[in-house]
């Protein structure tokens, strides 16, 4: 009997990629791959082409089940609204990232007229509206509901704040596309993002699927698509939960526009003289950095990481002007590849800066506090020191043959001896060589263990 076959297709903003797998002995075996530029005006066209190529390449019929993800149109744009920056807003951001969204703006406290105008201009897909514990703040929450209700924003509004005023909030928003989920922070410090995540996924389906031909594809395959980063997030969770040796790992997905950092590890393990302050972050966490990227975001990267890049250029003996010129060239032509050793060096430098900054922003800190009794420690954010493995994926890191770029995530400790970033200490580095992660991720919903096993088997261990 021939093993069952499954196709997986990811419609990205530039390429539509596909793979055909056979399910054998608890893992997927790659039978064929296909790739075509995404047909932006009608996504169904590129999809059909990939599907045909897969069938031709394997000699199988086109009749296999198809799993689909999409990040076309730049993914899911979310504006996060919270009450205080360190509590509800911070959790709203966490929820948006773990739902596979891209946080395009954050707002705290009562929305000002300027912020409302900014939101109307920005036109995100979703406004994730949070604030207040259950039974807590209602004044600011109701005011913001009123302001959003009167605004011209056409975004879908997801209310996940103080439950006690949910009915009144929904009434104030009755002219809008609106839904509600359980409060992301029912009590101070309690993180509850699952319900909001689930609703965001549904909104994604309703809003993003129609138009541009995606609804035709969905009808044809008879299965809902996933936002690509959500599929990858789920896969990361399955890898951590099921693969031996992978309970503590990180993954860096670096592309032209953003750098995503995923970590699967207990955020805080305590100890006698360590106290956690602030939020206890989740086991599985994703952050997205919109200013760290190799092409579309090259100029933003140069701006954000100027100090690091300048000092490295000096060490390499390269003039800043040459790098500056390269940045402008690649930002203007996002498809370009380095053409000589100098340009390769510049790409490597950009990659190093992206990885390092993304890791630092994802990680928490440990600070020494002095008391008359002696010193002890305060941790804030997530502890990444126990990560034993780090995966690099996305164009540049998938192709990388040395551990160097990925290990930038373990950048030298800060000069401030009293406050250290909690970065990985000595992880092994892996490359997602065949760039299979997004494609295996689509299968993780129905085949969690098999997909996780396949993703891990497709990695190549890198040497220093």
């Amino acid at each position: 009997m021939t093993p069952p076959a499954f196709a997986s297709v990811d419609i990205g903003s530039t390429y539509t990629k596909g793979a055909l797998f056979a399910l054998e002995a608890g893992a997927f075996r790659l039978l064929a791959r296909a790739e075509t530029p995404t047909t932006v005006d009608d996504l169904a066209e590129g999809f059909a082409r990939v599907r045909k190529q897969l069938a031709a390449g394997s000699g199988s019929s086109t009749d296999v089940p198809v799993y689909l993800s999409s990040s076309a149109r730049g993914g899911l744009k979310i504006a996060a609204l919270g009450l205080t920056a360190d509590l509800t807003l911070s959790i709203a951001r966490m929820a948006a990232y773990s739902a596979g969204g891209k946080v395009v703006r954050t707002y705290a406290y009562e929305l000002s007229a300027e912020e409302i105008a900014d939101l109307e201009r920005l036109r995100p897909d979703i406004v994730l509206f949070t604030g207040g514990t259950d039974g807590g703040n209602s004044a600011v929450v109701l005011k913001n509901a009123e302001l959003l209700g009167r605004s011209t924003t056409d975004a879908f509004i997801l209310y996940a704040g103080n439950r006690k005023v949910r009915d009144r909030v929904l009434a104030l928003l009755d002219k809008k596309a609106v839904a509600a989920a359980d409060n992301v922070m029912p009590e101070v410090g309690t993180i509850q993002i699952e319900p909001a995540r689930e609703v965001i996924r549904k909104i994604f389906l309703e809003r993003i699927v129609d138009g541009k031909g995606l609804s035709a594809v969905v009808r044809e395959i008879g299965r809902d698509p996933w936002p690509t980063p959500l599929a990858v997030f789920e896969l990361a969770g399955k890898i951590g939960a099921t693969q031996p040796g992978w309970s503590d790992f990180g993954m860096i997905d670096m592309g032209g526009a953003t750098t995503d950092f995923y970590s699967h590890t207990e955020a805080f393990t305590g100890g006698d003289s360590v106290l956690l302050r602030g939020l206890h972050e989740p086991l599985l966490k994703r952050t997205v950095e919109g200013d760290l990227g190799m092409r579309v975001s090259a100029e933003a990267l140069w701006e954000s990481e100027r100090t690091l890049i300048t000092s490295r250029l000096a060490a390499l003996g390269r003039p800043v002007e040459a790098f500056d010129g390269y940045i402008r060239a690649v930002a203007a032509a996002p498809e370009s590849r380095p053409e000589n050793p100098t340009e390769e060096e510049f790409d490597a430098l950009m990659a190093a800066a992206c990885v390092r900054a993304a890791a630092l922003r994802h990680a928490g800190t440990l600070s020494k506090v002095y008391t008359p009794q002696g010193g002890f420690y305060v941790q804030r954010g997530k502890d990444l020191r126990r990560l034993t493995r780090l995966i690099g994926t996305g164009g540049y890191l998938s192709r990388s043959t040395s551990a160097g770029p990925v290990l930038e995530a373990c950048a030298p400790q800060s000069a401030d001896v009293d406050s250290q970033p909690l970065l990985p200490v000595s992880p092994e580095a892996y490359a997602d060589e065949g760039y299979l992660i997004p494609l295996t991720a689509n299968l993780a919903g129905d085949f969690p263990e098999e997909a996780a096993r396949t993703a891990v088997a497709g990695l190549r261990k890198l040497k220093g």
């Binding site: 009450l83 514990t133 807590g136």
Partner: protein, 140 residues
Amino acid sequence: MNPTHLVLGVIGADCHSVGNKILDAYFTEAGFHVTNLGVMVSQDEFIDAAVETDAAAILVSSLYGHGEIDCEGLRAKCVERGLDRILLYVGGNLVVGKTPYAEVEKKFLDMGFNRVFGPQVDLAEVVELLRSDIAAAGRK
């Protein structure tokens, strides 16, 4: 009816946790909804929690003798962050050494606290004061 929210914690780098747990249990038993931030709480953490929970009062403890420095500016920060009507109570071993209580009390009242308590306080009295202060402030 929504219970009245209180925010509780031990301020600064102070890690005396026993009294904090007693206060949490006592005020919860008295019918308040207590958000207990535990030990080593910064001014901003007190205020963030009070904003999110719409708390009627913040109960600050300081046991290790550095209360004065740790509490300085808390009232002003509350006002800046929109908590212009919140009640601020403080208690514990507020200063180092044997400063007379009246002097200590005045110091903290001047800093903008509504009530100041020493370590020997009767918590039943505190609950009564809190109820009447909350009523006077026009909160439920």
